[in-house]
């Protein structure tokens, strides 16, 4: 294709997106659109899959059967979300094996929030409430994104995610209304998860390299700072309601803006964790790669069995 042809295709493509038309897998798309979507969608899928690890840690120690079935269902949902997103990413012409390879070699990133440890049962409450809460804020606008398979996957994800946040908040309510030790445990979990949850919504707008292009392609509908403000404004009253204190001495209602002002975020910590120096980065990758390698014989056996059955069928 000549450069001129590509230019006119690109112009037509941008116009389609501006008209809110969806782009489907076999449609022509600029290479950069394809690459950006592979990066973001696979990163999203990896986050769902790695996200099972910190919570899986507590399934056997859930305090009651009610909590245990809920946590099991939630972790199973995360696996499902990872699968919706992986198959949506594959429609862009990349294989599942390549995607796993990118995760396992550290070439692809996943949400850095999962590099923090889950030390107590209250962490399961805090994750559902805060981490899933922040994820919902990130994900709802994606239900309208320009790439059809991504938007469809996100609609399914968003429908399922609200139970996750409610089960987390319910855990926090119970602990906050429990013994002084339980309340303290809930407060401690909030103290540790609050700032990483704010970081989860991404670098500030002036430092975010992908925002402008992503807004144009409707991969993003609000900037990181807007999403963060929305998260804070909706979460602070939820903490107040159960008598927990947000660990930010600068947090203050701003009447004029109709929003909360909040303190500075430790972005050094964020970049350290992104670069692999968080408390659990190595552990998470070891668990993930280990599961993949230890499962190899199962995958091979299933394939061999399927081939054997097929051959037998043909012989009849």
């Amino acid at each position: 294709m000549s450069e001129e042809q590509i230019m006119s295709l690109e112009k037509y493509f941008e116009e389609r997106i501006a008209r809110d038309e969806k782009i489907e897998p076999k449609d022509w798309m600029p290479e950069k659109y394809r690459q950006t979507h592979i990066r973001q969608m696979s990163q999203h899928a990896h986050s769902e899959v790695v996200g099972m690890l910190p919570e899986g840690n507590w399934i056997t120690r859930a305090p009651s059967l009610r909590r245990k079935v809920a946590l099991l269902a939630k972790v199973q949902d995360e696996a499902g979300h990872g699968l919706y997103l992986y198959s949506a990413t594959e429609t862009l012409g990349v294989s599942r094996e390549e995607l796993y390879e990118q995760l396992h070699t550290g070439k692809a990133k996943y949400s850095s929030i999962f590099n923090y440890p889950t030390l107590t049962w209250a962490d399961i409450g805090a994750i559902g409430w805060l981490v899933d809460g922040a994820a919902i804020i990130n994900q709802v606008p994606l239900c309208n994104t320009s790439y059809g398979p991504y938007a469809r996957a996100m609609i399914r994800v968003c429908k399922e995610e609200s139970f996750h946040q409610r089960q987390g908040y319910e855990i926090m309510i119970k602990l906050a209304n429990g013994t002084p030790e339980q309340k303290e445990m809930a407060q401690d979990a909030l103290n540790r998860w609050w700032w990483p949850s704010l970081m989860m919504l991404g670098p500030t707008d002036d430092k975010s390299v992908h925002t402008e292009q992503s807004m144009k392609w409707k991969l993003k509908r609000k900037t990181n700072d807007e999403l963060r403000q929305q998260f804070i404004d909706q979460t602070v009253p939820q903490a107040d309601l159960i008598g927990l204190k947000i660990p930010d001495p600068d947090l203050k209602w701003n009447e004029e803006r109709g929003s909360y002002d909040f303190g500075g975020i430790d972005w050094d910590e964020f970049w350290q964790v992104v670069k692999g120096h968080g408390p659990m980065n190595k552990e998470r990758m070891k668990a993930r790669v280990g599961a993949w390698e230890r499962g190899a014989w199962v995958r091979d056996a299933a394939m061999a069995y399927a081939e054997k059955k097929e051959k037998r069928k043909q012989a009849v």
Binding site: E90, E97, A302
Partner: protein, 95 residues
Amino acid sequence: MATKDWPLWEIFVRSKNGLEHRHFGSLHAADAEMALENARDVYTRRNEGVSIWVVESKHITASNPENYGELFEPAQDKVYRHPTFYDLPDEVKHM
């Protein structure tokens, strides 16, 4: 043994009797039976379906968006295929 990757399957789910099967997404599985079982777990965890079809993706032939014009434009100028094309007096009822 050289690892062979599980093939890709397209999943169609009927949400309730009376409705058609609709494309829900895809997944990897070693064979059709496993594709059905996996589809049950991946796509119908909350009573989303009463029946599932699985088709190996390689068996689907899809039209090419580049041929959109020759395939679909011929239908665009045939307004006489729609009831509104026909002029009837307002007094006529039930038509």
